[in-house]
Symmetry: C2
Subunit: 270 residues, 2 copies
């Protein structure tokens, strides 16, 4: 297997941030959407690439599930949601959002490559890439093809989750992609009746970021209004959620994008 990256640069996209975990169901898509919304709320031009081809949740979370992305045979055109965020997801190309994508891996990798190299993203300050679980084709192709400024790791404070998340961190490192820090998710919830803080995993002090040896960007409590939301709207999110999301945006904007190699594709103004 060839791990040497042949990254494709797009000078119109200033910075690409990955949201990874290795493990499914820890809240990657929610984190990707909150990050994108926090950046958009600061006036940044933002896109989100849904790299979870077989389990895409971004169109619903961003409220564009009834739209269909278009292609003129040359380029794929992202959908723009009402908050101005551009989105590409495999589900925007299906008539039927419940249709399973029964593709073998190389085709999945190809789809990701197209979402990056054949899409008309226009000018973007930040493109957020929502990774699928696992360390196979899609993740591999994404790391090899896209020049990430860095990745944000999402984890829940569970022992075996940390083990699986670490696989994903080691993959990023092996593919020379900086890991920016950890968003810890679902540590606790507040009882709506008595106000008790209930730890969901009873993990004592062994918090996700510490276990993973990475800086903690923010710890998101369980919030039912987020977990059960059909879609997330920035203007309707509780103030604390927006503050938490702003911390992710802060970290993402400070990540340094890798320089494109000196070549015609990276020439000024191209």
């Amino acid at each position: 297997m060839d791990f040497v990256p042949e990254k494709k640069f797009n000078p119109a996209v200033k910075r690409v941030i990955g949201v990874v975990s290795g493990k499914g169901g820890v809240g990657k898509s929610t984190v990707a959407v909150l990050l994108a919304q926090a950046l958009a709320a600061k006036g940044r031009k933002v896109g989100v690439l849904d790299a979870d081809i077989t389990g895409p949740s971004l169109p619903r979370l961003l409220g564009v599930e009834s739209f269909r992305a278009e292609s003129d045979g040359q380029k794929l055109y992202p959908i723009v949601n009402e908050e101005g965020i551009k989105v590409l997801s495999i589900n925007l190309f299906h008539e039927d959002e419940e249709a399973p994508v029964i593709w073998r891996g190389p085709l999945l990798g190809k789809a990701i490559e197209q979402f990056w190299t054949d899409a008309d993203w226009g000018e973007l300050d930040v493109l957020v890439v929502d990774f699928p679980p696992g360390t196979s084709d899609v993740a591999l192709t994404a790391f090899q093809t896209i020049p990430f400024a860095g990745v944000i790791v999402v984890a829940t404070p569970q022992d075996y989750v940390s083990m699986i998340v670490r696989k994903s961190i080691r993959m990023a490192e092996a593919l020379k992609t900086p890991v920016l820090g950890v968003v810890e998710n679902m540590r606790a919830l507040i009882c709506p009746k008595c106000g008790e803080e209930i730890l969901l995993f009873d993990d004592g002090n062994a918090r996700s970021a510490e276990r993973l040896g990475l800086p903690l960007i923010v710890s998101l409590p369980w919030r039912r209004e987020v977990a059960q939301a059909k879609s997330l709207r920035w203007s309707e999110l509780p103030e604390e959620v927006r503050k938490d999301a702003a911390k992710m945006a802060f970290v993402a904007e400070r990540a340094e994008a890798p320089a494109a190699p000196a070549s015609p594709s990276a020439a000024p103004g191209s």
Copy 2:
């Protein structure tokens, strides 16, 4: 793509049950382990095949993560845990359980095929297969290669999760595999201070099984002692958890295994 199943039969294994979801993080591995343990507690000979190659959690949950499976070049030999359950997982072949498996999909599919056809499972009443998230190589190869008696679907009561879970159900149907019912997970937890039942997803009456149009096998509440457990031991599980698991075992044992085609490999006594 060739969807025509070329199933491989193993007459020593009476019944194979898949645990699927499409979505990650909904509790598939926990359900697979509880099902296996409930069957073992009834005296059945049980094996568990961890089909989640890039995010394997079964060795820890079954308490065998420090063991290493062996191969003599002909056969793979499952590890037997202290409850008598046989286990095969990619993590039982690594020295380092945090090493990422950065394989492209066809290799993942190949690994699953080997876990089924090249493993010495011995005589089993039930083999439980814990699927990975997604509908790509591993799921496809598993459905094509293994003659399942049926699959149990695991879902959380969230709108977009139902959408993704449905992809997995439709994949099973497309590949002629019976869907036995739904295990709903994480609907609610009980506040340890005031006893309030807190719905995690505020889903009203739109429960997972109803949404999916399938029979509900059991609804598992959030139980911290299960969620945070390093491993699950049947003898230490709360009585209610064992009762819930027994319902899964009941359904699994009533699923009819497909008949092997009349061929030498299915001859009596083979």
